[in-house]
Amino acid sequence: MFLWQYLTLLLLLTVQIRKAQGCDEFTDLNLSHAIIGTSLKTRLLLYTRDTVSCGTLISHTNMSTHPQFNFSRPTTFVIHGYRPTGSPPNWLQKITELLLARKDVNLIVVDWNYGAANVNYFKAVENTQKAADNLTAFILKMQEHGASLSSIHMVGVSLGAHVSGFVGAKLNGSLGRITALDPAGPQFTGTPPEDRLDPSDAQFVDVLHTDIDALGFREPLGHIDFYANGGTDQPGCPKTILSGGAYFKCDHQRSVLLFLDSVNQTCVSKAFPCSSYQEFLNGNCLNCDRFGAAGCPVFGYDVTDWRDVLLKLGQTKTYFTTNAVSPFCMTNYRMNVMIWNRDVRWGYITVKLHSKGKEAVATINHKAVEFKKYTETKLLAQFDKDLESVEKVSLKFSTGNVFKPKYKLRVLRLRLTHLEGTKRPLCRYDILLEENKEVTFRPLLCEESNF
């Protein structure tokens, strides 16, 4: 108890100090505001590397009063989405810190909480256009002061993604980049491009989808669209309404967490162009030749390295999978299996990689895989982590049948190819897999195949 009192005191003290320093905070509203409804008020909070944890409220009209607002630096806007309860987004501080750590920019947090906080979602949607007008005027002012539009990057979450799109459209698509994190679907799905985000809104538009079946937008909206885990259900998010509010927002919010990991360079997630998530899981979209030596694009902040080739390709739909917690990245291997069983076999495969006491697991169970005699079956094995040098591999075959006889999968050759990087594929020959029995072996470096 004493400790808590002490901590609260400390917290109050720091708040007071920050106020004394002249720090401006994001508008903190509560549910009563949201119920009454709020009318739009756009506040712009500036953060720089020198003032990472202390925002400055910027005047829309008189920018010269803020010496730390340096127009020769690139500017990044962060625009939040619908705030049904009026609370400030909990990721604001993190995104400010990480974006500033990556790049020396003017980071402007667009606070349109007055306007986004409303139990009536439609009102918040109406406010997006007004907020966009406001921001456009601000950016034009910035331009007058010598800022370059192509050095502006807007990161929009949910409704904020469409706000970015509207701003971009009003500026004739001359903004440098728009990153849309799970752009909002309701009220935008099915509307013409001018009423939502679209690739013409900026020089480069990258979009992440994490909740296309509820709060997000299903169709592609940018030059590249990333569908994390197919864009529907995110791992680790509750599957039933019993978990309360998290059921509604977990998938949607995951987009921010994934993006933060990419800004932080926690790990790298390659995204594979594909027509559908199923096809991707089936291992039919592992070819990255169209991107040349760079390979398939990396999800997130650093996708700009693929900008030129993506602009040439028009719109690209890509897929990747994630873990339930950070580090979210998974490690992809292509797995080729050839069997010599006389009859066709169907089943699921679990692969484990072992290295220095650590273990990475991939379960291929999105559907029963067909294995045919002397035919190479191509699988996508997604491991929860990357291991430097694989010492041992474990393999398990299962069919899910209880009453049927225990089948055996007679593997002629197994080949595991790491999809990121240039490691030589690993091979193993002549494996007898009894159903539900794990077999562990030491893999060989494959020699060139002449099967």
Binding site: F403, P405, K408, L412, R413, R428, D430
Partner: protein, 271 residues
């Protein structure tokens, strides 16, 4: 018919031997249960005879139903008292008892049938699973006639080359050759894919280079599938890599004389 004679008997004996009556009573209800066909005719006859008493007795019976012991006690009382009533009550009761028993048997039978069906399914599935013969384990070695040869060499870094080894007729080299032939034969025989086709392994020479051993492998395949086997199961890649992975799986103790250096393994297909 039987119950009529019983009734007469009980009427004769009742004053002299009340205990026997009880005994008769028990016997009759038992026989009632057995003699199902005769019971119906008997019942109609009795109904006419016992119209006066039947109402009271059934009423009593109805009350007694829930508690079998209480019913028996009361019946004993009645038995000693009014003989006519005893017989009627016990008979109706016996009948009621039977109906109840029959009802019980109905749902039991239904459940039994379900259990039976279930058991039959389980047993047949288990039998199917147990009697399942893996088609891949079913082969006829007498059909394997077409030979396929591989040869090559491997290095034995822990052996010192001597003149004795270069000549395969010497004891020492023969012993060593036998050891390696055994090793190769074991490794291929235990291979799930190649084992059935393996015929023999021969060491043809030991050469200088610490020691290099030359070997030849012979496989036999059936005529009908030989093209596929040549391309896949008995391809050079397969035969070579089964050997190679065996060498990499060896104990990492590199000082043993029998140690084969995995990197030195070479294999060719002999036409």
């Amino acid at each position: 018919m039987e119950s009529n004679s019983w009734r007469r008997a009980s009427m004769d004996n009742i004053e002299l031997l009340p205990v026997t009556t009880n005994g008769n009573d028990g016997r009759v209800s038992a026989s009632n249960g057995d003699g199902v066909p005769s019971r119906n005719a008997d019942a109609t006859e009795r109904d006419a005879l016992l119209t006066g008493q039947s109402t009271t007795s059934t009423g009593q019976n109805g009350q007694m139903l829930p508690d079998g012991n209480a019913a028996e006690a009361q019946r004993d009382l009645e038995n000693t008292g009014i003989p006519h009533e005893i017989s009627a009550v016990s008979r109706i009761k016996g009948e009621l008892k039977e109906v109840i028993f029959w009802k019980v048997r109905l749902w039991m039978v239904i459940i039994f049938i379900f259990l039976l069906i279930f058991a039959v399914i389980i047993i047949s599935l288990a039998a199917c699973a147990a009697s399942y013969k893996d088609p891949d384990e079913d082969f006829d070695p007498s059909l394997f006639k077409v030979p396929r040869y591989f040869n090559g060499s491997f290095q034995l870094p822990n052996l010192v080359f001597t003149e004795e080894l270069s000549n395969l007729s010497t004891n020492k080299s023969q012993e060593l050759a036998a050891d390696f032939q055994e090793k190769l034969a074991d490794l291929y025989r235990s291979s799930p894919a190649l084992g059935r086709y393996f015929s023999k392994a021969e060491i043809s020479a030991f050469r200088n280079g610490s020691v290099i051993a030359d070997y030849q492998l012979t496989f036999l395949m059936p005529e009908e599938e030989q093209d596929q086997l040549r391309n896949f199961t008995l391809s050079r890649e397969m035969v070579y890599n089964v050997f190679r992975q065996f060498l990499y799986d060896q104990e990492p103790d590199e000082s043993k004389p029998m140690y084969i250096d995995p990197v030195s393994l070479i294999m060719f297909l002999t036409h």
